[in-house]
Point group: D2
Amino acid sequence: MKVRVAVNGFGTIGKRVAEAVSLQDDMEVIGVTKTKPDFEAKLAAKHYDLYVAIPENLSKFEKAEIEVKGTVEDLLQKADIVIDCSPNKVGAENKKLYYEKYGIKAIFQGGEKANVAEVSFNALANYEKAKGKRYVRVVSCNTTGLVRLIHTLKTNFKIGRVRATMLRRVVDPKEDKKGLVNGIMPDPVAIPSHHGPDVKTVLPDVDIVTTAFKLPTTLMHVHSLCIELKENVTVSDVVNVLEDEPRILLISEEDGFTSTAKIIEFAREVRKRYDLFENIVWRESIGIDGNDLFITQAIHQEAIVIPENVDAIRAMLEIAEKDESIEKTNTALGIPIKI
Amino acid sequence: MKVRVAVNGFGTIGKRVAEAVSLQDDMEVIGVTKTKPDFEAKLAAKHYDLYVAIPENLSKFEKAEIEVKGTVEDLLQKADIVIDCSPNKVGAENKKLYYEKYGIKAIFQGGEKANVAEVSFNALANYEKAKGKRYVRVVSCNTTGLVRLIHTLKTNFKIGRVRATMLRRVVDPKEDKKGLVNGIMPDPVAIPSHHGPDVKTVLPDVDIVTTAFKLPTTLMHVHSLCIELKENVTVSDVVNVLEDEPRILLISEEDGFTSTAKIIEFAREVRKRYDLFENIVWRESIGIDGNDLFITQAIHQEAIVIPENVDAIRAMLEIAEKDESIEKTNTALGIPIKI
Amino acid sequence: MKVRVAVNGFGTIGKRVAEAVSLQDDMEVIGVTKTKPDFEAKLAAKHYDLYVAIPENLSKFEKAEIEVKGTVEDLLQKADIVIDCSPNKVGAENKKLYYEKYGIKAIFQGGEKANVAEVSFNALANYEKAKGKRYVRVVSCNTTGLVRLIHTLKTNFKIGRVRATMLRRVVDPKEDKKGLVNGIMPDPVAIPSHHGPDVKTVLPDVDIVTTAFKLPTTLMHVHSLCIELKENVTVSDVVNVLEDEPRILLISEEDGFTSTAKIIEFAREVRKRYDLFENIVWRESIGIDGNDLFITQAIHQEAIVIPENVDAIRAMLEIAEKDESIEKTNTALGIPIKI
Amino acid sequence: MKVRVAVNGFGTIGKRVAEAVSLQDDMEVIGVTKTKPDFEAKLAAKHYDLYVAIPENLSKFEKAEIEVKGTVEDLLQKADIVIDCSPNKVGAENKKLYYEKYGIKAIFQGGEKANVAEVSFNALANYEKAKGKRYVRVVSCNTTGLVRLIHTLKTNFKIGRVRATMLRRVVDPKEDKKGLVNGIMPDPVAIPSHHGPDVKTVLPDVDIVTTAFKLPTTLMHVHSLCIELKENVTVSDVVNVLEDEPRILLISEEDGFTSTAKIIEFAREVRKRYDLFENIVWRESIGIDGNDLFITQAIHQEAIVIPENVDAIRAMLEIAEKDESIEKTNTALGIPIKI
């Protein structure tokens, strides 16, 4: 008997989550929702039972001749769990309007405030904490990228302060109204950016401060990290540890990976919609100066949280232990890619 | 017995051509070449027999532990035809160095001068002319986009002068050294841009003038066309004719296709590497004012010439008639996509 | 006795209008308004008497220690005429709220609908029509650029249909929230863009159709024009006519003007805030093919309407005839620049 | 008797240096050179005696009807000192070809290797070291920005390790051929970027590691700094110290300075070609977490080294002491701007 998963919202995250859930053998997508009848709704209807996220918009779908099976409320009544993939802050509204009403377990995304859920989640770092929980929040793309890396390092080495500069793509590739066209925007100007405190919702004992900047690019975020080492560690120690974690992929400038543009060019060959579920770490960027370890990683903001959403389902429903879930997810999604 | 195809160059065009040839039932890729041992070479070696395009670089591949089967000369001796996918102007050098020497039929890309080949080719417009030829040049992405549209219109309607403004993406997504970061560049300043004369290499009797501009974007080119109508034609006449041509896809702003960013977002869902082999025409852009027909189309520069290369093989080797070849190619490549 | 001018709004247009008015010998700026106490307000207060555009915001200015002389209503009572430089559509609101109430003559910008005023204005094309009028609208940057060029051509040659493709910078250099980061956006998709009809508010008898595209750049708009010639005209005839019009500046690719980036680099040397009040026409872009004249021009969207606003004052108050006003404005603003 | 200064190269740096020298009362520009007869050469000829940097190109200038006074060799014979403003690495060639031959003192820019000169120079940090020297190198824009800030801090506080992430504009506004259009490029991938070691050419005892990234923007660089404090310091201590240094300008997000785009918008109002000679530090970015001080600053790459070049002249010719020179330069250039 498979877990029946509802995906509320079929945008950047929702469409990836729906596909990833479909690829697992212990769960199935029983429906997805969409607010308006655009090309993404048509794609949704081709692959899934489609429900209308905003009941008042039902007639718009009829007019566009897109078949819908009902409204979000109809969908929720059939599901074991819902993954909320609606835009920032709408998740909290959905919780009040629907999820509490129908008593359904729900997973939220990192755009929501931490207090929307009982646990802020990352599969590698705190899978156990989500066990049996009703509301879980998968932390955002940047936080997921930081947590995976820091957790992997601190599990293997004694580390101290973490300082990270976050170079953020200003909008996703599909957005054509917002932006920053020519400039660099500290966001925020005052330290810290929210990423540091957000990391602490998962890894409470890390001494981390982050600064963040919006940049006129769409492809990936990049993190420039400086991490204090509190024991003797070599570059190859770090490389070995990162190579052992499937959700972290080491790439090499030598192979032609000179920028995020080249990383995406590679991903276009090997993954649908060029989705990179892994942290992408430049091997040559791993360097040590005195007690400080330096690492540069690129994060595909559209895709990195997808495996975490799948694992969160298993943890909340207690249908698999951590290692089993992560391995199942990785295998189904082809993590890690081989170069 | 399948046609044995060599693909010389495995960059933006080469890797797509190789895959498209592999998908046909009457031809096979017997090898591809690469100049340097980067990540694209590794991908090439995973799927094809790999040969070194520049014999002197053989040791670099060995050092990078990428298995190669020999040099480009070894490859050419086994092939029935070569598709030259090397950068602009290198094709002409390869012809002199290798193709003439081995007496092999060769297809060149649009970056070469027209006189590199006997025929400048577009499958819809002049398939017959390539029959039995030794050297054929598939015209460039922008020219292919213009030729398909103009040919389709002039086959169905009496048309006069064609005026097109070409809005060109300045570099491909993978390029990270060249560009235009913030500005608009007439290229060239003086009329006409080369696209008009290039169209005439395929459609000699069209009265066309083009102006062209480089723009700081990577995704697609856009053409803004104004075409004189010499008979009474309605917008729905034009829509019908374009809908009947599989290599032209009509999209609608109503479905959320507001920019090239949205078109690519759609393509990421339905095609590997988001390849769009079709001219993408905005349905609402088709308008008539007096005797002038206006059309706006977007052209995916990385992909649009791929089906034409496949058809060129069949024409040159005379293994299929025009309609049969085009249908085979379209079926194998999934042309057109359904939205 | 100088004309007492109020400038309502001190953003991109307002600050330039205020300075341009200050440079004339027959008018003076008696005050400018600002909605919020940011760095532009501080600059305003340094050079002009500053009034608060939104009376409720008075305390914010006090808190920021910026001296204000009162509210917009205080200012209007002292002025002979107001130039409304508020954002799109706010001008119409200001008219109802204030200008009608105080019976003051007002100039609006091109972001307002044509019916906000009695006349849509361009100094070269219809100065006479604004004489004595109460409400005049200076047409937008793109329309001003088109009108100047078309008016100059049609005054000298018999011309027919005009077809223009408008390549628009998506945001001004100072905007850091909106945009289009990587893509090309037809805006609108359906023909015609509003520019053609807007040209007709000034030049009613021109057969013009425009298409328009938003592009990820901030510096200048570019227009690619195709104009039907109804008599025998040579390229040098056109060059001569354009050279005779001070508000049109011919530049040459030969001098290194390869893109809008180079034009702005030049402007930075010769004009405060690199303001280009002139249409910038590439000399080499002027070409004739059959009966069609081709011209490419760049338009500095922040500056091109400034001289028109100054002339509108003189026309409305009937203090100078057309040629006298234009010459005074040109002289005061240093139009045209010499290269 | 004024110092006779030759400026060899009249590009981005050269034209600014020439103007800055002209504004001093103790030196004069006796000539500038240019390699080709473009619009920048015409501007040069309007303000200065123009010489040809590449003697073979003399006829090109004649053809373009630009008056030249001779070749670079003619110029050098009349000068007391030359400021080499040629592109990277050409300065070293000029030294060998010309400066050694004519025994002239020379100032080089930061694009040259440190060993081109006896001293790597920053006026605040090591004015004394340049006294009487024959060859001095003014460090690059990014290094100048770092040195000014670090020197000011270490003069006032005990500081330890400095970690800086350099967010670099990929090209200057006038460049329209190179770039990075959509992506983020670590440059270099391996730590450290050259900026850290370059800082040490001026401040040898600073423990600094820098990482650097190229970004698709043209306006300014941004530095995100984390500096270890070795004594008890408050944010307002830091603010006070930075406010006291005229070559560092504190700006406030509260005033609307949300990005480099807004900073440049401000600069357009107050400085020719929007030149910002000062480090631009966001006041709200100054924060302390434990022992770590965080600061974000923006650097106008085209302008920041200009005052340093002027001071280098005085130091090398020993015509003023450090404080006198800096004050003269600041006064002549209007440093600092008041907001």
